[in-house]
Symmetry: D2
Subunit: 278 residues, 4 copies
């Protein structure tokens, strides 16, 4: 499989040598600061998101994640609260001085989410949903673009290029595990993608240890490894009662475990010369 040359240009280091920095509230992603995004897979109830927002904020997270529209393999799985969850999500974040990120599945929802949410996420399954990428390229809003399960880094950067070409320069890349033959964890976190992306592109890149592993016990070592490899941040699933979660419970940390994780990654971040603000 020969790489097509010039598949991306605006996303390349050749085009822009210095890092893209995206500053938003306390977050300065693309600098030495480490950004921490945390929250539940899906917003499930006002109580759940309120409790969690307080817990992750206290532990040191900067951004609250929470799915409203959940892309699920099976149509019989919980699909998220949809727009009904938006108010409770935004309010919980605001009450705890957190920024917000949520996934956009449908171009029809962009307008409503644009008004209320700080960062819009494109999920793995939509990494090459080109009409969606083109619409997001017209916004003045950071986009968190997750790598597809079997996307090469060239394909990820080419997907970012669709957004950049529209004029939106605020793209945050996210590694979330690739599909390989190994069967002990749900996916294989491609931690080595971090230095490769930093070499090829000026865009910031974070890692999602929760989806990468699909296994709670692996989240801590993978998070430490991602920071040690140079990730600009991590995005972690946390749930007040992981065993009762409506989705992804097996990979969610409880707030106590998340607090320990923060301590650990701060230590690793300091060891390699990164700053951590909280």
């Amino acid at each position: 499989m020969k790489p097509t040359h010039h598949a991306f240009h605006l996303a390349s280091r050749a085009h822009q040598a210095e890092n893209t920095v995206i500053s938003l509230g306390p977050m300065n992603i693309g600098t030495k600061d480490l950004t921490v995004i945390a929250g539940p897979c899906a917003v499930e109830s006002e109580e759940q998101i309120r409790v969690l927002a307080r817990a992750v904020s206290r532990a040191g997270a900067h951004v609250l994640r929470g799915g409203l529209f959940k892309p699920r393999t099976s149509p019989y799985s919980f699909q998220g609260l949809g727009m009904e969850g938006l108010d409770m999500f935004v309010q919980a974040a605001r009450d705890n001085n957190l920024l917000t990120v949520t996934e956009v599945l449908d171009p029809e929802h962009i307008e409503a989410l644009y008004e209320r949410v700080d960062i819009l996420q494109v999920g793995s399954r939509n990494m090459q949903n080109f009409p969606l990428l083109k619409q997001l390229g017209t916004l003045d809003k950071p986009i968190l673009l997750k790598r597809g399960l079997s996307a090469t880094i060239e394909e990820l950067l080419s997907a970012a290029e669709y957004i950049l070409l529209g004029g939106n320069t605020k793209v945050i890349l996210c590694e979330r595990g690739i599909r390989t033959f190994q069967n002990d964890l749900r996916f294989t976190p491609d931690i080595s993608a971090i230095p490769v992306i930093h070499r090829l592109s000026h865009l910031p890149v974070i890692l999602d240890p929760s989806h990468s592993a699909g296994d709670r016990d692996a989240v801590l070592p993978i998070s430490r490894a991602a920071v040690a490899a140079g990730a600009d941040g991590i995005m972690v699933e946390v749930h007040p009662h992981p065993d009762q979660a409506l989705s992804d419970g097996e990979q969610s940390l409880d707030p106590a475990a998340f607090t320990r994780l923060i301590t650990d990654i701060h230590a690793v971040a300091n060891a390699i010369g990164r700053r951590v603000t909280s």
Copy 2:
């Protein structure tokens, strides 16, 4: 990775023992008939599509394929003629008694394409574009659903379930190569997926040897293998001048090679008790 039980139900053999048969013009897919879909990767000009439609019809194809909206990894690659190509595409097919199939990339185009085209295609990159699948589930029109590059068969059938749940029972599955470590061909055609799908589901399944291989010379042996393995049809890229094609030229057959392919797959089809009409 444990499969979630009951990820699909309507798509399963347990739900419906007999094959789903989709009859449309001369095509009775799901029976012993072998369906042949052929045409260019992209509609490029009135001349190109007219010449090709005549050639593939003479060779024995039943359905004309032709991309209007091309999902391309790079935004700098040819993106297709869009709606401007629709008239020439439909006219060329009609003049040669061919049915039509084209890919829907954007939900906004469904309405216009629904009126004019016989089969709507969902591409690999959109296999889990759930809003798109849900809309196509409300139509009374056959849907050709391509397997994602790294989708398991369970995920493919769960994607079909999103369409079936909406009431549209006319889903044709399409294997188009999976992403593996092997690097001699562009993808690895998963020919063994055909018997596995037939065991798990009543839906018809065809194979696309052109995208599977990304290599013209491999199209003939892969097509024969697919038919021998029990595929209900094949979908082949043909171009009047493959070396001048605006996309996918390296995997396109010229009309003469396509004619030889038809002869070969007829022989194999007959050997295993399938009928071929032309």
Copy 3:
């Protein structure tokens, strides 16, 4: 991963344009003849191998396979009868006019096996056991070289080169499934490797549908597909009572199913201009 140039030379079509033909008894592999190898995963008893040899001979096989030394992932699995099984294996074949093939695991066994067996097999796990390959290169005896689980075709041909360099020109390649993400079958049979190998090399290539699939029901369609794709032969596991087999029972055919398979592949072989002798 850039291919190293000139990794193999003697194995290439550039070096030898015409097919290597290996003639042995009724077998003329490398010509239009289709070679059928069949037998149990492991030789288990005199009774078992005698019954099987008769059955596969009647059905039309040319070569009897049977493992004496079994390479097993776990040291607690049945490891084969070893040299104790050799006499019964050879006698059963001779009584039924069959050639013999068995795997060499240990260089120490080469001498004893060389005297009694017609074809020596190198298993997947040993494809790059270079001391073993070098020793086999000094023999005047056909070698059946199985592709490693994750070997590229270049690596397979380079492994063959180690044998050819020693002076032994009688190498038969064998595709036996590659390791990918798909999880419905044990491995993914890389049927498209057959035309790729035929393009790059003059060596004959067969396919093992039993190990490729690890699933009895898939053996028939995969065998038909392999023949349709141009394989020079197939190697199939057959057991008198698959459910009682000491190894690989789930992928073994019983003699009746094997007889039906032979009928089917003869039909496909004839359809594409191959000869079948029995």
Copy 4:
């Protein structure tokens, strides 16, 4: 692919809850100590290995690596100095207070290497060379067992079981990258295998960033990530003049870069509570 239950037992945490500790000179692998192995891919000359041994010893390595017998994909690539390199290798290590590790390719060499070398390595291609594993199981000598390119962790631990069953309890596991679709680096370092192995087994595990990546620039971040993920050590290729190396030059560090790497991994090790002795 269903895992066979009880494929390994002696290697499991269920069998032995506390870590296996292997103490040899300054190395106490399996404790909080971090072990550093470094040296050239292949021993090339007395001058080369002498210069390198001094450099890696000064930088803080504990063990000198150096290949005498090189398993190479192509028979036309440099195959190592063989036994001729043994004296110079051992002398260079001794002069610099380093332990030694080298790969055993052929059972015939075990006796000679056993006398002179501290740790015997089994390479990826031989992970399931069962006769070799069985022989190494009879020795009283640490074995460094590298994971195969596409081996699952269960297969790796089952391979270790072959050694343990012979009575040799001193097995060090080594992750060295797995084969996946990603094509920016030569292999995908499976850093998440480290916590998985630690959960399933009491055996120590190290990571080889050089073969994992096949790319000099990625060695530093991958090494930091491995240590952060809990690896008991790393094994790094270093060459005095990487661009002139007879093998693997593209992934070798020069001594200055190796010294910087040591500084970095010491910082990460300290951050997570590991000790580093030098």
